[in-house]
Structures are given as structure tokens and as C-alpha cells.
Symmetry: C2
Subunit: 174 residues, 2 copies
DNA sequence: TCCATCATGTAACCAGTTACATGATTTC
DNA sequence: GAAATCATGTAACTGGTTACATGATGGA
């Protein structure tokens, strides 16, 4: 249940409409917690019903501006220190690796290669983001931390794939 | 839609009942693609209906032994080279980091500390698994690759947390 | 005989996806 | 006047969770 908290966090930073939030999800939060438009509006409705946000303004074209309530801010802080309720870790990539024994040796090698390539592309994508922005503002500080995590993660994936490919080559028996 | 492929992969390796599979999910696959009992039985039903698996034996206590069909094997191979249909990446941890600006500086530091601690515990848990098993068999080869990914990931998280904490300390202005 | 384990399922609910639907306002 | 953008929503479906429910069998 984290889309809820992403919304609370964004609205705590600055009030806005569903449409405004959607843009933030497409930009800064896309690599961390992507959200679809329909889901976002649904969650805004639930948040409103639960009293965690409120409508502070209704503008042109039916635009509703939302802001967090005190209850919402409390819920946000509660969640901040509750990592135990996070969704369990799942990785289709690692699942494939685990099941690679069902593949031909060439297929297995090919998959590890494609993982390596993908990680490398992601890594340079993150590098571009890093180099394109000015992170000195107070706004960008924590986004920069998250980005660094992405950079290091993709770097790790490339290194790991190299290690795995090496081990596969030196594999005893077949 | 990957529980489906986890099941196909396990059954392709060796036929078995839902109960058998459940044990494998609790042991080897728990860190990669956890599954609940109810979901697993549900998926077996769907797989059967779709003709990707078949019942090869009915034993005591209503035990049904399943095996993959040719269609199932084909589907497994198709999925193996289709990473584009994987679920989108989401991380509640990184979402928290991104929203850490809503916290007090002490709260932010505390959260990064707790992340570091958690990563360290996970790392030593993986180390214990690595040291407790004999990975030389053909069976364990790919599981060992997945485990190494976990080891490197948790290592990366610890290093990243240290880097982030250092940056937080040296943060200009407040 | 009792307990652990084997063994399978259902029901209610929550989170997320894709596709569909509608209409107002601004800008060229 | 047409097109882009602003703006909000609904419906059908899939995947996942927790909790509930039931019963057989083997060994102490």
C-alpha cells in the first residue's frame, strides 16, 4: 500500500491536483514507484474518503486541488518508519536465472548477456539523468540519493553478469 | 504473470504435487519469487485449464502429481526470452528515500541507518546460506548465481547507505 | 488416541493494468 | 475551427494477500 504514501508525500511537499501529481509520477517518481492515471485517481478518492487529504480548491475544468490533512501527515510519518509492511521482494530476472537450468547452455549464456546489456543501458540512462540536472537545491538532494542507488545497482548488475558468465565458461562438466 | 513460470520451471525440472512445489517455494525460491499456498493452488488450476500442465498421477489423500505438457514447455521457453513483459520496477525503500525531505534531518539520518543495518543483516544471512550448502552439483549452479546477486546487492546497499550518510553530514545549509 | 504432517481448496479483499469515455480550455 | 493539453473518471480483469475450512494418514 505505497502509492498511497507516494501521494501523501508529494502533496505534503506541495498541494496539487491529480493531473499535477501525474506529471510528478511520470518524471521524478517513474523509476521508483510508477503509477497509472486511473490508479492515481482511484487512490485520491480513497485518501479523501479516509480523511488523509482534503480538497482545498476547485478550479477551471473541474480541477480539484488536494492538500494533506493532519491525519495524512501523521500517516506519512508512521509509514516512513514501517519498512516491515513493504511488499515482499520479487525479481523476474532472478527467477529466470534460477530456472536457467531448463535452458540450453547457449540459451543460458545468451540470457546472461542480455541482462548485462540491459543493465549497461540502464546505467548510462541514469548517468544522463545525473549529468542533465542541477542537484544542488534542497529539492533534489534525496532524489540524488535515490538516483545514486540506481547507478550503483546497474553497475553491480553488469559486474555480476560478468562474474556469472565467467563462471559459466569455467563450469565443470558440460 | 511469473508465478505461472516459476511453477512451469519447477515442474519442468521435476514433476510434483502442489504440496511439493510449496516446499520448493519456501526453500529455494523464497528469496526470488515468494508464493502463498492459496495462490499456488489457484495457479495450478489455471495452468491445468490452459493445458500447460497435466495430472500424471493421483495418490493418497487426494495428492495430484503434475507434469508440464509440451505446450507448457514451449510457454516456459517463450517467457525465458521475454523480459519486456516483467512487472515494472517498484521500490518502497527508494520511495521513502525520495520522500525523506518531509522528515526531520534526524529522522532522515535514522532511516538511512536502519537501511544500512537491514542490508547488513541480509548480507550475512546470504553468507550463511552460501557457506551452508554444497553448490557443486548441476542443480545448484544457477541458484548460486542468484545467491551471488543477492550478496552483491546487499553489499551495494551497505556501501550506498554509507555514501548517503556521508553526503547527509556534509550537506550544505541545514 | 493424539499430534504432526500431508494435502487441497474457497472467500473476501486490495493493488495494479489496460482500455474506454467524456468534456473544457488554450493556442495556433 | 482544429489540435494539443488540461482534467477527471469508470469497467473489466489479473495477480496477490490473509483468513478460513476440511480431511487423510503415519508414527509416538
Amino acid at each position: 500500500m505505497s502509492l498511497r504514501h507516494a501521494v501523501l508525500g508529494l502533496l505534503a511537499h506541495h498541494p496539487g491536483s491529480g493531473y499535477d501529481l501525474l506529471k510528478k509520477f511520470r518524471l521524478s517518481l517513474a523509476n521508483v514507484w510508477p503509477a497509472t492515471q486511473s490508479r492515481l485517481y482511484g487512490e485520491l478518492g480513497k485518501l479523501l474518503e479516509a480523511g488523509l487529504i482534503e480538497v482545498t480548491d476547485v478550479g477551471a475544468r473541474g480541477r480539484k486541488e488536494y492538500a494533506v490533512t493532519d491525519d495524512g501527515r501523521a500517516e506519512l510519518l508512521r509509514w516512513m518508519t514501517s519498512p516491515q509492511e513493504d511488499p515482499p521482494f520479487r525479481s523476474a530476472q532472478l527467477l529466470r536465472v534460477s530456472l536457467l537450468g531448463q535452458q540450453s547452455p547457449a540459451g543460458a549464456r545468451g540470457y546472461l548477456h542480455s541482462l548485462r546489456l540491459h543493465a549497461e543501458l540502464e546505467h548510462s540512462r541514469y548517468q544522463q539523468i545525473r549529468d542533465a540536472y542541477d542537484w544542488s537545491g534542497s529539492d533534489g538532494f534525496f532524489a540524488r540519493l535515490a538516483l545514486e542507488n540506481g547507478l550503483r545497482f546497474t553497475r553491480m548488475e553488469v559486474d555480476w553478469a560478468d562474474w556469472a558468465l565467467g563462471r559459466l565458461d569455467r563450469r565443470p562438466g558440460q
